[in-house]
Amino acid sequence: MKIETVIELTEATLVCGDDKLEMTVERGFSSDLMSDVLTLDTEGLLLITGLANIQTIRTAEMADIRYILFVRNKKVAPEMEELARENNMVLLATPFSLFKTSGILYNHGLRPVY
């Protein structure tokens, strides 16, 4: 699924990564628990989370995750955006809940990790 499709389906705003709208994600993982995210070994992953702090971005950096979708319009702090840009990440923010976001993307073919 293309990033621009994720944006369209979840009415998301793009925080950073506007040069990567054509990139695709294969699977989604919804979690607020970063230790759980660190157990994943999946390429082309979209992390869907309600946890918006610097450790979310750090975790993605360590786990080689490039795409993060924050739910419920969580605020992305400037230092989070800066770290995300340094690591060539795409950050998105949707007003939808974690449940609704996951459901919509799953229905449109984004596959689960497990």
Partner: protein, 138 residues
């Protein structure tokens, strides 16, 4: 060629938790280490670094990169671990609410470290501190 680095870690400083792991990641990439190996190394190091920030007062991370392996030693001054075997059990946690709010503290850190390293050794003295040694082969 041997590369040695040390990083100082401050307990409770969540803003900078992961800085050391991030620097080591960049270093290993420069040294052209297999990206999959790099990922395991930095995940283990990041979990261990977060543990110092979450539980200890201060700590030092020393890394030594040789041609075929990396050795990471994390030495902290802190409360120590009374029962290491119990701490290794997945789901066991003594983390504060603040740590949980940062997305950690579910009792998965030590097992994540074990899963991602070739050798993991933990020694600890209650009221003094903990030393974690991890070795990964390339």
């Amino acid at each position: 060629m041997v590369v040695e680095q040390t990083y100082k870690i401050r307990g409770g400083d969540f803003t900078h938790a992961g800085d050391a792991a991030s620097k080591v990641k960049k270093l290993l990439k420069q040294l052209d280490v297999d990206p999959r190996k790099v990922k395991s190394i930095v995940i283990a190091l990041y979990e261990a670094e977060v543990n110092i920030v979450a539980h200890a007062w201060e700590g030092v991370i020393s890394i030594m990169i040789d041609s075929d392996h990396i050795r990471m030693v994390l030495e902290d001054k802190g409360p120590g671990i009374a029962d290491i075997e119990q701490a290794m059990v997945e789901g066991y946690s003594t983390a504060s609410r603040e740590v949980r709010e940062m997305g950690f503290g579910a009792g998965m850190g030590l097992s994540n470290m074990k899963r991602n390293t070739d050798l993991l050794e933990i020694t600890s003295k209650v009221g003094v501190g903990t030393t974690v040694t991890m070795v990964n082969y390339f």
